[in-house]
């Protein structure tokens, strides 16, 4: 089942995935990957990247900020 609404584009440059994901294993690092599909007509020389802004992670009812919120480099086309 999807985590959050599906089939939504970047609306205003952001999109929020909402759901419930328990990090059940103790004493472990749990990872979330953000991946892209690149459009067939994507432009050469463009770059693609994403970032997580301040307070844009919610866990256990509390907003969290990752460190850092944005990092270079990006992936180039």
């Amino acid at each position: 089942m999807p985590f959050g609404a599906t089939h939504q584009p970047f609306g205003g440059g952001t999109v929020t995935f909402t759901g419930i994901q328990d990090f059940s294993a103790p004493n472990a690092t749990h990872s979330v990957f953000i991946t892209y599909d690149i459009a067939n007509d994507a432009s050469d020389g463009h770059t693609v990247d994403a970032k997580i802004n301040t307070d844009h992670i919610r866990i256990e009812g509390t907003t969290r900020t990752p460190s850092p919120t944005a990092i270079p480099p990006v992936r180039a086309l």
């Binding site: 929020t16 294993a25 004493n27 690149i38 459009a39 432009s43 463009h46 970032k51 919610r58 866990i59």
Partner: protein
């Protein structure tokens, strides 16, 4: 207890909250019961699922057990009552036990792959967000992540996903824009 709710998930055993059944509420102080009323059509020749979920009080007592039972006649379908399942004895083995949460360390963002991509590529990693947890206890629960675009042009991206990794278990949550891609090969 701060609340109890019911959710219908159709033929999926995976819990999600898009289809509440009835209204969330709390157990009656006297009867210790709650009834969810609704009208959910059930597909033929299939097994469908309803999840009962609890919202816990922030001051819930550690080591208390949580459980429930559905008494005989506790389920009504098309005017006929059903037992549903055998009553569950809440003791001595409660379904879940209240424990202090595990400790969440500093959440970090890293570029897990920075090599170039080409038009038509799928599932190309952009960011990895690490959530380190220590100690035993109740798991930390991720509820939402807002991703902000840092693309030169968002039209270069036809779909994006969140993939959660918890030891060897993977699940994929996808968002897709209106621009389709014709390739399906994964090149990572």
């Amino acid at each position: 207890m701060a609340g109890v709710a019911a959710y219908y998930t159709g033929t999926s055993k995976t819990f999600e909250v898009s289809t509440p059944f009835g209204s969330a509420g709390v157990f009656d102080n006297v009867t210790r019961k709650i009834t969810f009323n609704g009208a959910q059509s059930l597909p033929a020749n299939s097994t469908v699922y309803v999840f009962i979920v609890y919202t816990l009080s922030p001051v819930a007592t550690s080591n208390h057990g949580l459980d429930l039972m559905i008494e005989t006649g506790g389920i009504t379908i098309s005017g006929v009552t059903y037992r549903g399942t055998l009553p569950i004895n809440p003791s001595p083995n409660p379904a879940r036990t209240i424990k202090p949460p595990q400790t969440l360390g500093t959440i970090t963002v890293v570029n897990s792959d920075t090599t170039s991509v080409k038009p038509g590529d799928t599932d190309k990693q952009i960011l990895r967000i690490d959530f380190p947890v220590t100690n035993t206890g109740a798991p930390q629960t991720l509820q939402s992540i807002t991703v902000t675009s840092a693309n030169v042009s968002d039209t270069d991206v036809s779909a994006f996903r969140l993939i959660t990794r918890e030891h060897r278990r993977f699940s994929t949550h996808q968002c897709r824009s209106a621009r389709p891609t014709s390739r399906s090969a994964v090149e990572q």
